[in-house]
Amino acid sequence: MPTESAAVFVIAEQMEGGIQPVSLQLVGKARKLADELGTKVGVILLGQNLTNDSKKIIAAGADLVLQADSEALVPYQSELYTEIIVKLVVEHRPEILLIGSTFMGRELAPLIAARLETGLTAHCIELIISSEGILEQRIPAYGGMITIVCPEKRPQMATIANGVFPSPVLNPDKSGEIISIELPKKFPQRVQTLEIFREKLEGVSLETASVIVAGGAGAGDPEGWNQLEELARILNAGFGSTRPAVDAGWTELETMIGQSGKIVNPDVYIGVGLSGELQHMVGVVGAKIMIAINKDAKSPVFEKVDYGVVEDCRVFVPALVERLKNKESFVGKVR
C-alpha cells in the first residue's frame, strides 16, 4: 500500500524570477500519478523570493513544497543544489522524482541519481503506472516506443521536456504546505556558475511559431540548407531540424525538434529531407497540418504526414521559394 513515503516528487525550477512552464506541467502530471497511487505530490524548489512561485505550484496540484530561498541559489549551482536535493530525497523517500529536461535539469538529474544510486530515464514522453504500481517510462526509438522501468531502486527518476504534458489549470483554492529549508552551513565550491548570459535569438521562435520548416540530414549540402532557411524566412516560419541534421553539422542544437529537443505546436509543419524518425516526430505531433518533402517515395515520413511531395528537395525548395517570392510581389501589387 502506498504510504506517506510513496509520494511523487518534482524538482521545480525558477528562471528569471518566474517558474519554468515545464515545472508546472510536471506538477500537473505528478498530481495525476499521485492520485492513481493514492499518495501526495511534493515539490522541491530552490531559488530566491519564492513565495509566489510556491503558491503557484500548490495551485498546480502540489500538497507540499520544500523551498530553499537564498541569493546563494541564484544562479543555479550544481554542487549546492545536489547537496540540498539529495538530503531532501533521502528524508522524504519519494517513489517517483520528475525533473524538467532544462539545461539545469539535464545536469542535475544525473548528479542526483548517481548519488542516490538509482536509475534515471532521459527525456520521457509518456509516464504510466503499471498494474504493479511501477512507473513505466516511455521513450521513442527505432520507429517505436521503448518502455523503461526501474524495478528495485528508488526513487524512479525521469526527465521530461517542456511541452510533453499540458500545463495544468491552476486552482488558487487548493491547499498545501510550504516548508522552508535551511541551506547547509558549509557548501562545496569546486564548481561555480559565475553568470548566465542571454544571447539574441535570430528568426522566429520555434515554440511560438505558427509555421515551422524543419530540415533533416537529407536537406544538406550548404546550398540546400540555405534554400531551406530562405523558405523559412519567406513564410515567416520557425526553423527546426532533426538530430541527424545537427549531428551532420548543418545547424545548431538549438533548432532541434523532438524528444531531446523542442516540442512544438505549429499550425503547419513542413519537413524537408527527413525520414520521419519518431524521436523527431514526437516533437511535432501537435501540428495541425503536416507536409513532407522527400525524394524517396518509400520514406517512412510519408506515413506520418497529411501531404507528401516526392521530389528532391534541392529541386523543389528553390522552385517553391521562387513561386512564393512571385506571389509575395503579386499580393503586394493587389494591396
Binding site: L111, G143, S210, Y307, G308, A319
Partner: protein, 265 residues
C-alpha cells in the same frame, strides 16, 4: 603536464543506425551489420584534449567500454595522437545502462592513476542520455560542467568555461580535477586519414575486464543497471497521406494552394 582521460564510445554509424526499426513481430531490433564509428560528440572531446596537449603538453588516455571490435576506435584515437588506450571489454559489461556504464568507467579511471581532466561527449548518438559524464564525476567525487561549448581559461587548476544554457550560456569556474562534457561547438575535430586507419591497426591497447577492475560482476552490465528495458513496440502512423503529384510546377502550385488554405500565405 596534464593527465587527460577521454571517454569514447564506439557507436553504430548514426545514419545507418537511424534506419533500424523495431520488428513488430519479435518486438526487438533486427541484427544488422552496421560499422562502428567513434560517437560524433566524443571526437570533439578528443580534439579538446589534443589542443591542450599542443599548448601545455599532456598525457592522453583513451577509455572505452564495448565489445572487442570497439578496440579499433580506441586504436584510431591513438593514431590521431593519444598516448595510450584502454578498452573495457567483458561479457559481464553487456547490457549496462548509463549508471552501470559510468560506474565501470569511473573504476577504470581510478585504476589508471592520477587524472586532471576527464573529457566526454555530452551524449552518445545511440543512447542519448547525457548521464554518463556527470555520473562518472559523482563516482570519482569530482566537479563537472556539462555541455561545454568553449574553454575560456585553461591555465592552472581553475578553469573558466562557457556551457550551453537556455537562450544563451553560463560562465562557470571549475577546479581540477574535473569532468567536462562537450558540445559540437567546442572545436572542429580532424578526421582520421586512410593511412591513419591503417597505422591504427598496429597500435597496442590494454583490455580490462571486471576482474582487472576488482569489481564484482553484480555491479556491472545488466546486473548493475538500475533501469531495464521491458518492452519495445512498433508505433504505426495515424495520418493518411495525400501525395501531391504532377509536374514540378504543378506540385509547387498545389503546395502553395495548401499553404494558402491554411492561411500561411
Amino acid at each position: 603536464m596534464l593527465n587527460i582521460v577521454v571517454c569514447v564510445k564506439a557507436v553504430p554509424e548514426p545514419i545507418a543506425a537511424s534506419n533500424l526499426k523495431i520488428d513488430p513481430v519479435t518486438k526487438s531490433l533486427p541484427r544488422l551489420d552496421i560499422p562502428l564509428v567513434i560517437n560524433p560528440l566524443d571526437s570533439h572531446a578528443l580534439e579538446a584534449a589534443f589542443q591542450l596537449k599542443k599548448k601545455y603538453g599532456a598525457h592522453i588516455t583513451i577509455l572505452s567500454m564495448g565489445p572487442p571490435p570497439a578496440g579499433n576506435i580506441v586504436r584510431e584515437c591513438i593514431a590521431l595522437g593519444a598516448d595510450e588506450g584502454i578498452l573495457l571489454t567483458d561479457p559481464a559489461f553487456a547490457g549496462a545502462d548509463a549508471f552501470a556504464t559510468a560506474y565501470t568507467l569511473a573504476k577504470a579511471i581510478e585504476k589508471n592513476g592520477p587524472v586532471d581532466v576527464v573529457f566526454c561527449g555530452m551524449s552518445s548518438s545511440d543512447g542519448a542520455t547525457e548521464w554518463v559524464g556527470p555520473e562518472i564525476a559523482t563516482f570519482l567525487n569530482m566537479p563537472v560542467v556539462t555541455m561545454v561549448r568553449e574553454i575560456v581559461e585553461d591555465q592552472g587548476d581553475e578553469w573558466i568555461v562557457k556551457a550551453d544554457y537556455e537562450r544563451g550560456y553560463r560562465m562557470v569556474k571549475i577546479k581540477l580535477p574535473a569532468v567536462i562534457t562537450v558540445t559540437r561547438d567546442l572545436n572542429h575535430p580532424k578526421p582520421l586519414s586512410f593511412s591513419g586507419i591503417i597505422k591504427a591497426r598496429s597500435k597496442e591497447i590494454s583490455e580490462w575486464n571486471h576482474e582487472n577492475l576488482e569489481i564484482p560482476a553484480e555491479l556491472v552490465g545488466l546486473k548493475g543497471s538500475p533501469t531495464v528495458v521491458t518492452e519495445m513496440t512498433r508505433v504505426e502512423s495515424r495520418r493518411n497521406v495525400k501525395l501531391i503529384e504532377g509536374s514540378l510546377q504543378e506540385k509547387v502550385d498545389r503546395f502553395v494552394q495548401i499553404l494558402s488554405e491554411a492561411g500561411v500565405v
